[in-house]
């Protein structure tokens, strides 16, 4: 017999699958083989050391009796009826719940996304401006949308709206009771929030402002610069070169 066989037996001892006969055989061999003896002794010692380092000062019998007494003394500590799985399956339950929520969320998102175009609601704040007199066809596009809609008299105006007046058309935006901003034909005007104030950006075309006197600072922004109202009436024209 070679030492290789006994090394396998020592491995079996570590794994706890060695028979009594094999242990006796190993011990007999260890008496004559120093290296196998040392290896086996180290293996036994390591197991003992670990076992003793992790042993509880409280005897198992005592612990059992103490817990039984506690269970008998406290009526609140009862066996809970089996529910859907146990604590060990809580993770699975959470995963299933998350999956269901995700599926519902995706379905709702898809459904809203599909119906959203026909019943579009602007996400930006409504501003105290309304559409006044309209001549011809003036189009409006809300922020985040690709759809141009015809502007009607009395329509609500939202931040981010873009107005486009076609040829032979114009519209009046009522800023307050007496102040108005008139968008002439072939013009494009955007309503934006800039420095926490609602401001007008004339992309191209022409617009005329009629302001109530006295009035606060009022600007019309253009691609070439900003125009400030000093009087009560002025016209800004942006011509593409």
């Amino acid at each position: 017999m070679t030492c290789e066989k006994y090394k396998n037996l020592i491995e079996k001892y570590v794994e706890g699958i060695i028979s009594d006969g094999q242990i006796a055989e190993l011990k007999t061999h260890a008496e004559t083989c120093e290296s196998c003896r040392e290896e086996f002794e180290r293996c036994v010692l390591l197991q003992d050391v670990v076992k003793h380092a992790f042993s509880s000062p409280l005897a198992a019998e005592q612990a059992g009796a103490s817990l039984v007494a506690k269970l008998s003394a406290e009526p609140n500590l009862r066996l809970r009826p089996a529910r859907f799985g146990t604590a060990l399956f809580a993770g699975k339950r959470v995963a299933i719940a998350a999956g269901i929520l995700l599926a519902v969320g995706l379905f709702l998102g898809f459904a809203i996304g599909r119906t959203g175009k026909s019943a579009w609601t602007p996400l930006t704040a409504q501003v105290p401006i309304s559409a006044g007199k309209i001549e011809g066809t003036v189009l409006v596009r809300h922020e985040g949308s690709d759809v141009w809609q015809a502007l009607d008299t009395g329509s609500n105006i939202y931040l981010g709206d873009t107005f486009h007046s076609t040829a032979m058309s114009a519209c009046v935006l009522k800023l307050d009771k007496k102040s108005t901003l008139e968008l002439n034909q072939n013009s494009m005007l955007v309503l934006k929030l800039y420095n926490d104030e609602t401001q007008f950006f004339l992309e191209h075309g022409e617009c005329t402002a009629s302001l109530q006197s006295p009035h606060g600072p009022f600007f019309i922004n253009t691609p070439h610069g900003r125009v400030e109202a000093l009087g009560t009436e002025f016209t800004v024209k942006v011509i593409d070169e």
Partner: protein
């Protein structure tokens, strides 16, 4: 094959059945059987022995209340080990929160003395015990559980594989890796103990 301190799974099944029928003493037998394993598992995560015993108690009480939900009573030891590890994590989280509130630190290892430890083996000093525990704590969690189940609970690799729902080959490989690490790291201590 040497007798394992833990008896057959059939008996585990019977004890679970009796507990479910209202016999509290049967649960007492379960505690007796797995007390050392559960305390050792707790000790492999927390440093304080008293805290480990508290965790063991809480784990058994939790196991008792959740026993009707145990799907396979023959895997009681594996189920208990998972509950214990979960309880340890909860306890550690509470301790961290508590320490943050009080802004205090854990007892330094240097403060431990050379007095004989209050364990079953009077041969090991408190320092040696701490050294062994710290060495085991440094192992990855899957190795730690195996070492405890094998060397403290006395379960064979085949039974551990059944309990943890792993393949016996995997458990064997993990155990030998863990054993190799321990043999290397504990070599000075083993020499010290051997020479006494």
């Amino acid at each position: 094959m040497p007798e394992s301190p833990i008896t057959t799974t059939e008996t585990d099944k019977q004890l679970v059945k009796s507990t479910l029928l209202g016999e509290t003493s049967a649960f007492g037998a379960i505690v007796e059987r797995y007390w050392n394993m559960v305390v050792a598992l707790a000790l492999s995560k927390v440093s304080d022995a008293a805290e480990a015993e508290d965790i063991a108690q809480e784990s058994f009480l939790k196991a008792y209340s959740q026993l009707p939900g145990l799907r396979d009573p023959s895997r009681l030891a594996g189920w208990l080990s998972k509950i214990t590890i979960q309880q340890c994590s909860n306890s550690l989280r509470k301790t961290v929160r508590h320490r943050r509130t009080l802004r205090c630190r854990a007892t330094p290892v240097e403060e431990l003395d050379e007095r004989p430890a209050m364990t079953a083996n009077p041969g090991l000093t408190q320092n040696q015990i701490q050294f062994v525990r710290q060495t085991v704590r440094r192992l990855p969690e899957k190795f730690r559980t195996l070492i405890i189940m094998r060397f403290v609970a006395g379960l064979s690799t085949v039974k551990i594989a059944e309990q943890l729902g792993k393949r016996p080959g995997t458990v064997r490989v993990w155990l030998h890796r863990a054993y190799k690490i321990l043999r290397k790291d504990l070599a000075p201590l083993l020499e010290e103990v051997k020479s006494l």
